[in-house]
Symmetry: C2
Subunit: 155 residues, 2 copies
């Protein structure tokens, strides 16, 4: 049975809101689908989506502390501490103590920049195919509403 053949018939709560339109489920579902697509391409260079994101921020934007990264990525800082481990282990980033010695300053290594450079055309391929399938207008709308959603969830 294909996914599209599954119908959750009785899915209206009393006031008319549909559970099948749960914002959280919809977002997580789409995030899984898209992550699978990106991960599948990036696998050949040994990176995952999350790792590529972190690397891209560091390579394009320069060294950042864990706190800065976690705010930018809307990730708990304890999550980020752990997300950095595989990158450090593989020699793609370096973690140093900052001037404020409570902080850790994360910088890409030469190997990290190289890995990012290898991954970039693969990323670009998936990104472009997705934009093309969605259409420019829908894709732009998607990215805009995602940004709004992040802000709306936070205040």
């Amino acid at each position: 049975m294909a996914a599209k053949d599954i119908h959750i018939s009785d899915n209206l709560v009393p006031n008319g809101l549909a559970l099948s339109k749960c914002t959280c489920m919809g977002l997580r579902k789409a995030a899984r689908a898209v992550t699978q697509a990106f991960d599948s391409e990036l696998r050949s260079v040994g990176l995952r989506s999350t790792q590529f994101s972190i690397l891209s921020i560091l390579v394009m934007g320069g060294a950042k502390t864990i706190g800065e990264l976690s705010k930018y990525l809307v990730t708990d800082s304890t999550t980020l501490t752990r997300n950095l481990r595989p990158l450090e282990r593989d020699g793609l980033i370096a973690i140093a103590t900052g001037e404020d010695r409570r902080t850790r300053v994360i910088a890409p290594t030469a190997a990290g920049e190289e890995s990012f450079a290898k991954a970039l055309p693969l990323w670009q391929g998936v990104q472009e195919r997705l934009i093309q399938k969605l259409g420019d207008s829908n894709w732009n709308t998607l990215l805009e509403t995602l940004d709004m959603t992040v802000k709306a969830s936070q205040d």
Copy 2:
């Protein structure tokens, strides 16, 4: 430094695509933000977003196999096998062997229906606040483009 003060200045790849507009990063970021909001409400009834989603499908749509759930949720079936564990351990679902004895049929228990009923108004609160903050039109657009994105990622 606030997240909005962080600027990834040099973020255009040669052909003009911006890394900061990575579809995957945007989706994952928004999924984290929204999940945090829903989880924060659902915590008082001991459910997480993922668990609430699964419960809602079973309660509103009836028993489903792991395969059916995994297709509907765009989740790897091995992930679903594991997602069910906490729900089973807490007595909210029952897992039985189907007529096709390779399959497992997942059904909500009475406790599961009760837990879902308790969670529903909490879910509704977060959902409505989000819709209100985004505006009906933006929210509808979001849910539509998310659906499109799932489809686009899959073919």
